[in-house]
Structures are given as C-alpha cells and as structure tokens.
Amino acid sequence: MLFYFIKRICLGILTITIAVSMLYTMIHLVPGDPVKTILGPRASPEIQAQIREKMGLNDPLPVQIVRFLGNVAQGDLGQDVFKRKSVNTIVFEQLPHTIYLVLCGIGWAILIGIPLGCFAAVFQNSLIDRIVGVLSVSCIAIPTFLVAIYSVLLFAVTLKWLPAIGAGDGSLISYIRHLVLPAFAVGLGWVGYLARLVRASMLEIMGEAHVRTARAFGLKEQTVVFKYILRLAILPTITLIGMGIGILLSSAVFTEIVFARPGIGRLIYEAVTSRNYPVVMGSVLVTTVLFVVSTTLADLINAIVDPRLRTKI
C-alpha cells in the first residue's frame, strides 16, 4: 500500500516536471525574442542585454529549465516584468475566484445529477430513464461556452433576472448573484456525466449478492436503495470528479471570459494575448499542478477503496 502511494506520488511529480520542461522549452525555442516582446522593438541594445542578463536568458536552455524548476520548488513562480509584481501574487489573487466558480458548478451538478442517475436506475427502462438518458447526453454534448452565452442571452439580456458580467461590487449578495449564471454554465455538463455514471454503477451494484440478501431479509426498498446501493454507487463519482478537474478548469476559462469574471482562466487568456510569458508559465503551471494533484488524489482514494486497482499503475 505504502509502496503504491510513493510510486503514484513520484509519478505525479515526474509528470509535472516533464510537462513544465516541455512548456519552457516550447516557449524559448519558438522564433521571436521574449526580450523584444517585453521591451518593444525600439529599445536600445544595451537595455535589451541588461534585461536578458537579468532574466537569465544567456544561459543554455537546460540550465534555465533547472533553475526555473528549482525556483518553482521553492515556491517562486518568477516576476511579471510588465507590472513589476511577483507572479505568485498575481496568480493567487485570481485563484480563489476560479475555485469558488468550480466548486459551485460541481456542487449544483452533484445535487441534481446524482439523484437523477439514481431515479433513472431505480426505474430502469421507464420513460423517466429514457428522458434522463437523452438529457444527460445532451448536457454533455453542448459546449460550456455556448451554455454560458445562451444563459446570458436568456437570463441577463432578455429576462434581466441576473447580471451578465463581472463579479459584483464587493458585497456578498452581489458576489453570489454574479456567480449563479457562471456556475450554471460550468455545472450543466456535469449533471449529465454524473447522472450517467451513477445510473451505470447503480445498475451494476443492483445485481450483486449483498443487495439480494438485503432484499431477502425484507428490508424496506428505500433502505436497500440508499444504504446498500447508492452508497457504493457514489464511489466512482469521486474518481470522475478528480479526473475531470482539467475539464472543469477548461470550462472555467471560457466561462470567466464570457462573463468577464476575474479568475485564473481569464488571467491566462489575458497573459496569452499580451504575450506575458512569465504569467503564462506561472498560471499554466499552477493549473497543471492542480490537475495532477487531483488526479493523483482520485487514484489514491480509489486505491484505498478498491485494493484491486493497486497492482495496475
């Protein structure tokens, strides 16, 4: 068990290291001088040389990567040369907004999706089951940014129920009002994923011996469904959510841009459009770490719950 844990964590660290090195190499191999991008074309050669020295761009690429990784390991993501602020400050100012968005999105999806899947499984092959089936496939198939645009069109522009853009004026109520539509957009696809998964795993568990035994003992149907089936059927959703954090972060990018919300997605987008390499590196790195950590956690939780998985890595 301990061996599996160590192996899995080492694998996670290795993946992050390689991913970061790949990104760093890509950024620095591409034609176009980062210094010129930062200073503009008319900067004097002396200043260019000075900045290049300061950013350590004269060293060979592997040295730069190792130094960057070393700094990252010490918790330093570098310096934003445009704003003269540390990338840490910038990224961690924006991160909470994205985390609230993702948590609220997945939260309402859990509240709706799991009961839907449960209903569909209990009434298998009924009309409810079919409707839930079609609904969940449709929810999965429609891209998040379209859901975001259409919810703005319907609820903000046409009905004027909720605000369309920004994150509010600072008060809690207005923050929540500004969170409703983005969270709806982020979560809608997940209602579909969760409903399908819960349905499938409930149907699987329904056929198992312990459920038959519970029924044979004359337990109430409710008790059987909630205590003996649903409790087990919910386990795979933990993995799905852990694995899906990448999808969640991706949909957060679109949602934050459509709703002009602060957050890490919009940060990356703006850094990309202004070619602000240090911020791109820092924020992509943070999201990658989030992603790898959550998939690793999901794997570990799974290994605790289901020992059979430990041998497969």
Binding site: T15, M26, I27, V30, V137, A141, R196, S250, V253, T288
Partner: protein
C-alpha cells in the same frame, strides 16, 4: 467489396433502429450535406459587407438575419461549417495515424520505448486541454493550422494509449503466438493480424471525438485565437454576435445552433455505433 457495402448497409439499418441513432445519423448527414454544398446553398457572398442592412432579423432575403456589418449570417454559417468539418476530419485523421503507429510501437516494441512513450503521453495529457491550447496559440499565433496542431497533439495520446492496450492484450494471444512460431514476419503480424483488431474500436472513438474538435475550434475562434476574421467560423460568428448581444440576438442564436446540432448529431451517432459494434460497452450492460 460488396461484402463491405453489405456490412455498411447492415450497420446503418441497426443504427436507424434506435431513435437516437436515427436522429444522430440524420443530423450528421444534414450537417455534411450543408457543409459540402456550402457554396451552392449560400445566398450571399459570406464576407460581403452592407452596413445599412446591419442587425437585420431573419427574413426571406437573409434567412438568419445579418451581423453588425450587414453580412448574411446564413451564408457565413454554411461556410463556417465547412471549416469546422475540415479542421476536425484532417486533424483527427492525422492524430489517428500517428497514434496508431506510436501505440503499435509501444505495445509491440521493446519495453523501454513503451515506458518513454507512456510518460510522454501522460505529460501531454497532464495539461488541461484549453490551457495547453492557449499556451500553443501564444507561441505560434492564432490560425487554422495552430488549431489542428493542438488537436493532433492532444488526441495522439488517447489513440496511442488505446492501441497500446489492445496490442498488449493481443500480443500474447494464441493466434499471434502461433503465427510467430510459424515464422511470420513483423509486418505480416502487424498489418494482417493486429491492425484489423485495433482499427474498429479506434474509429468509433475517433467519431465520438469530432464534437470535441468542433467545440475546440469554435471555442478558440470565439476567444479570437482560432480562425482569423473575416473568414467565417461558428466561433467568430458567436464572438461578433456576443459583442453586440444587446443589439440583436440573432447572430448568437444562428452561430450557436449549428454547433449544438453538430455535436449532438455526432454524439448520438457515436453512441449508437458503439452500442451496435461493442455490446460490452453498452451503458446498461
């Protein structure tokens, strides 16, 4: 050849048997026909500007209304569909070929190559797709080719992994071992025995990826990081429409509906194809 046609016909009949499969097939055929014949169906030159007719509602003159420059949205949607399908078919095709090759090498080749490929695949997959896409666009600049590169690079690991696990499962099966004992060459085993067993599930997986690629293309173009204006794309139509959403709802509605229809069509079709070909994967099995 007649056997292949017969098989295709039988598959289509079985797909048509499920209501959602029939709907999916209908939508896919509809989208394909409208994209292929975009030049014939379009009623206006897609980039023709007519500012006096800006923000027109749907009418017989402009079936889906006009955008902020008075361009005919119906024609732009058709040409946009052509671009979306072109991007998805080319990039998925290339990713399939490379993924297939790498997967076969990983599954059949020496252990160390397998290990290296697996770590590489995992590293590519460890970026959330959109973050990776944004980083790549920063480097290469926005264009159709960049989108294709992004799709190819992110899809290769998925196909590669699948081919690898299929190959590994087949590698020690009796008929392959027998072939090897008889003295069959490497290529004979790969092309005659491995490929036919691997290609079916791979094609189903690929057809279910088309909505994903269309979403990526439309999404990046919506962010201004894909197809460059004035070339019409569903994403740029949505982007233009979203900027003027208070002036007219039609551009946003007209730009989004095709995306919804296409993704739903390919998803329904893919699901029922999977049910037909692979009963083991059926969702209620």
């Amino acid at each position: 050849m007649s056997g292949a046609w017969h098989g295709l016909f039988r598959t289509v009949r079985r797909v048509m048997h499920a209501p959602l499969g029939a709907l999916g097939l209908f939508l896919v055929v509809f989208v394909l026909i409208s994209a292929i014949g975009a030049d014939w169906w379009s009623t206006h030159e897609p980039n023709q500007i007519n500012v006096r007719a800006a923000f027109a509602s749907p009418s017989l003159e402009h079936f889906l209304g006009t955008d902020q420059l008075g361009r005919d949205i119906f024609s732009r949607v058709l040409v946009g569909g052509q671009i979306a399908l072109k991007v998805s078919l080319i990039s998925i095709g290339v990713a399939l070929l490379i993924g297939l090759t790498l997967g076969l090498i990983a599954g059949f080749g020496p252990r160390w190559i397998d290990n290296i490929l697996m770590v590489l695949f995992d590293s590519v997959r460890s970026f959330p797709t959109v973050m990776f896409a944004l980083a790549v666009v920063t480097l290469f600049g926005p264009s159709l080719e960049t989108i294709m590169i992004i799709v190819i690079v992110t899809q290769i690991p998925i196909y590669g992994r699948m081919v690898r696990s299929q190959t590994l499962a087949l590698k020690n099966s009796e008929f392959i071992l027998t072939e090897q004992a008889i003295g069959a060459g490497f290529f004979r085993i790969i092309f005659l025995h491995m490929l036919p067993n691997v290609i079916g599930p791979l094609l189903i997986l690929a057809s279910m990826d088309i909505p994903f690629v269309i979403t990526i293309e439309a999404g990046l173009s919506f962010l201004g990081m894909g197809v460059r204006p004035p070339t019409p794309s569903w994403g740029t139509i949505l982007n233009d429409g979203y900027s003027y959403i208070y002036n007219s709802p039609w551009p946003v509605i007209a730009g989004g509906i095709p995306v919804v229809l296409t993704t739903l069509g390919f998803t329904f079709l893919g699901e029922s194809l999977r049910d037909v070909f692979d009963p083991k994967l059926r969702k209620d099995a």
